[in-house]
């Protein structure tokens, strides 16, 4: 990924586009603190507890159930009223009836929804979403649309995708990576 400078304020909704391999994922990992920049400076004044990260991998334990997965992250992120919040999120994303099943038995789309629950669980200030819409079915995509438009303005977003049509109306900033 070559040189780039990017300034984001609180409440921005940045849309990052670019072909595969243009560094979208690397940029998100850098901002999340999962990768170290080899040059230039990087300053993210958002504490780790306030970052929500949705990656290509769902970052969920296949052997644990949906509730157990969210409970694990809820404890690590010290989410208050954890049980209620998990129930509400699973409800919103249509996963309530499969809450006690192993994540390993979920379809790709259901896993993506559960991953979204994980990323939104602790009400992060900064949301880094890497290709959030892929593998979501139409119903899942509408749920995500609603979620994004509701939270727009109250949180800062960085959404990377290679088909921006769906998110275009929400975006306040655009960044095209070559």
């Amino acid at each position: 990924m070559n040189a780039l400078d990017l300034e984001l304020e609180r409440g921005d909704f940045a849309l990052i586009t670019g072909p595969n391999g243009s560094g979208k994922t690397t940029l998100l990992r850098l901002i999340a603190g999962l990768a170290a920049p080899t040059g230039g400076e990087l300053e993210v004044d958002v504490p780790r507890a306030q970052i929500g990260f949705l990656a290509h991998e769902p970052l969920l334990y296949r052997e644990l159930t949906a509730v157990e997965n969210l409970d694990l992250y809820g404890r690590l992120y010290r989410v208050s009223e954890r049980r209620e919040r998990i129930g509400m999120l699973l409800e919103r994303f249509g996963l309530w009836r499969v809450r006690a099943e192993r994540a390993g038995s979920f379809s790709r789309g259901m896993l993506q929804r559960l991953a979204l629950c994980r990323a939104l669980l602790h009400e992060p200030e900064l949301l880094l979403l890497d290709e959030p819409f892929n593998a979501l079915d139409s119903e899942g995509a509408e749920l995500l649309d609603r979620e994004l438009s509701e939270r727009r303005g109250s949180a800062t977003f960085l959404v990377a995708t290679h088909d921006p049509a769906r998110i275009e109306p929400l975006a306040s900033r655009r960044l095209a990576l070559a």
């Binding site: 990992r29 999340a32 603190g33 999962l34 990768a35 170290a36 504490p47 780790r48 507890a49 970052i51 990260f53 990656a55 991998e57 769902p58 970052l59 969920l60 334990y61 296949r62 052997e63 644990l64 157990e68 694990l72 992250y73 404890r75 690590l76 992120y77 010290r78 192993r102 994980r118």
Partner: protein
């Protein structure tokens, strides 16, 4: 301190639940150690006596722990979950402490079968041996868990861990065998305790750099 301990408990419980659910590490370790002891029976010529048997016990224990350690970060590595744990607002060394405790539990379970089996097949297991095994387990789990995280970050995972672990396990074997064989094993148990202390501190201080860039 309680937040630290809380995170360790959360992560350790997750590892134990994963093992209960998948049940793939502990049974494999138990069968492996008993099978190894049986193989050693045939490997020991008649007149080799008890000393050789104790030596082989420790070889079996070291390689059984290797079997468990290789599985250590398997779930995290296969599903790329280390990113999630590193991203969580926890002190990164809690990941190491929790995984080391889980490994300790698995090792203890395997040895709960291995030591009686050894007593049955070969020679009596003295209290000093049990103390030696306990102290050695701590050393194995502290160093082994960190090396397992290192191996998980490399391309040749299962191949690399034994190479990284065995040189560091030599002092543990010396301490362990000494504790089981020598009349007054106090020095050897003390040595194992010193080993545990030194490498626990180094592992605790450097684990963060193993999982972050």
């Amino acid at each position: 301190m309680t937040a630290y301990a809380g995170d360790v408990l959360t992560l350790a419980r997750k590892d134990l639940r994963l093992e209960l659910r998948a049940r793939d590490t502990v049974p494999a370790m138990v069968l492996f150690v008993v099978a190894t002891l049986v193989v050693f029976h045939f490997a020991l010529p008649a007149a080799s006596g008890d000393l050789a048997a104790y030596g082989l016990l420790w070889v079996a224990l070291i390689f059984t722990s290797l079997l468990g350690l290789v599985r250590g970060f398997a779930a995290e590595r296969d599903q790329g979950l280390l990113d999630a744990l590193v991203l969580a607002p926890v002190d990164r060394s809690t990941i190491w402490v929790a995984k080391a405790l889980a490994m300790l539990a698995f090792l203890a379970l395997a040895q709960a079968v291995a030591l009686p089996a050894f007593a049955l097949f070969f020679a009596g297991v003295s209290w000093e041996t049990v103390a030696g095994v306990a102290l050695a387990d701590i050393g194995i789990c502290t160093v082994g868990t960190l090396l397992a995280a290192m191996a998980a970050a490399s391309r040749t995972r299962e191949l690399l861990l034994p190479l990284l672990f065995l040189p560091l396990a030599i002092p543990i074997v010396v301490g362990g065998v000494g504790a089981s064989v020598v009349e007054e094993p106090g020095r050897y148990l003390g040595f194992l305790a010193v080993y545990d202390a030194i490498f626990a501190i180094i592992s605790w201080a450097s684990f963060e750099y193993v999982v972050t860039e």
